[in-house]
Amino acid sequence: MTTAQVVQNELTAVAQKVNTLPDGPGLRIGKRSVLVGIIPLVPGGGSKFRERLPQFQAEAAYWEERVGTVHDFNMILFDNDTKMYFTVVYDGDFKPYLEDLKKAAPWFDNLMVGVGDGWKGMNDPGFVKYLSKTLITPEFFYANYPEATCRDVKKALRVQGAFEHLLDEAQS
């Protein structure tokens, strides 16, 4: 990320501080990080990807719950299905995220082996090097409620639900 001069004033005093990650590509605001990459597909990989996609989408909540730190994630085929763009918003640093991600290795491999050019599997010794080559640091990132982790958010929603139930019961 380029660091141009910023004039400090009353407006910049309330800025979201955007940092580069200490251990990999990507940007961070508060506790929230963003990861972006573009993976080239093998010839015919796009149609195979689309065939496998319904199962992948149907299992998303199960596997991402196991990973536990991902706020949102999407994948997009473009350039006539020759490339896949993906982006993930997650909590914390890059290397711990990669470790978390391995909990969902069967899910990703069932989609990507034979689709992503060079994707040999997430437990392949060269996987981190392979993935790292596909990553691009965004120029710009904005996150709402950046100090809340995914677990904080889910807990807050549970607490609020319980609190509303308590109030309903007290009034009944």
Binding site: L11, I38, A61, D72, D152
Partner: protein, 160 residues
């Protein structure tokens, strides 16, 4: 000034619960990548950030320059429907949007009557989309996080 359009028009993008993904891929004007980098070097600061918060519907967004500085991806996760999302851009943060998008080839300006058609044409619908809390809007989350903090304070006070 807003450009309301036929709400029954099919719009691009995937939805999960109340969350939507929005991804746009566009060519950049010659030299646009470098100018964008300078502009974005420190994210949204001050009033621009407050204005984006005021939208109250955007969970996160990012700009990614790629293909040897010739193209850009803009991607966001937001609540609600496509047309109100673009209308909010035009009414609440028009200057920020024009500032961020003016280096995109063919960008007509947020107040142009052609803006929605232009955006829809550049937009690419995701093939897969996951949101960890798809039924909670940004405003729901602000409230839930405040309630959680208030209850934590109450419990701390009660225990002190």
């Amino acid at each position: 000034m807003t450009h309301m359009s036929n709400p029954s028009k099919v719009r691009p993008g995937l939805k999960s619960g109340r969350s939507n993904e929005f991804t746009l891929i566009s060519a950049l004007k010659p030299g646009g990548a470098e100018r964008m980098r300078k502009l974005m070097a420190d994210g949204f600061t001050g009033q621009r950030q407050k204005n984006t918060d005021r939208l109250g519907t955007v969970h996160d967004l990012r700009f990614v320059i790629f293909d040897n500085d010739t193209r850009v991806i803009f991607a966001s996760t937001f609540d609600g429907d496509w047309d109100p999302y673009i209308d909010d851009f035009a009414t609440i943060i028009p200057d920020e949007i024009d500032l961020l998008f003016h280096e995109l080839e063919g960008y007509p300006g947020i107040h142009s009557p052609n803006i929605k058609d232009w955006i829809a044409k550049q937009q690419v619908t995701a093939t897969a989309f996951y949101s960890a809390y798809p039924n909670a809007s940004v405003k729901d989350l602000w409230k839930a996080l405040k309630v959680k903090d208030a209850l934590n304070n109450l419990l701390d006070e009660a225990a002190s």
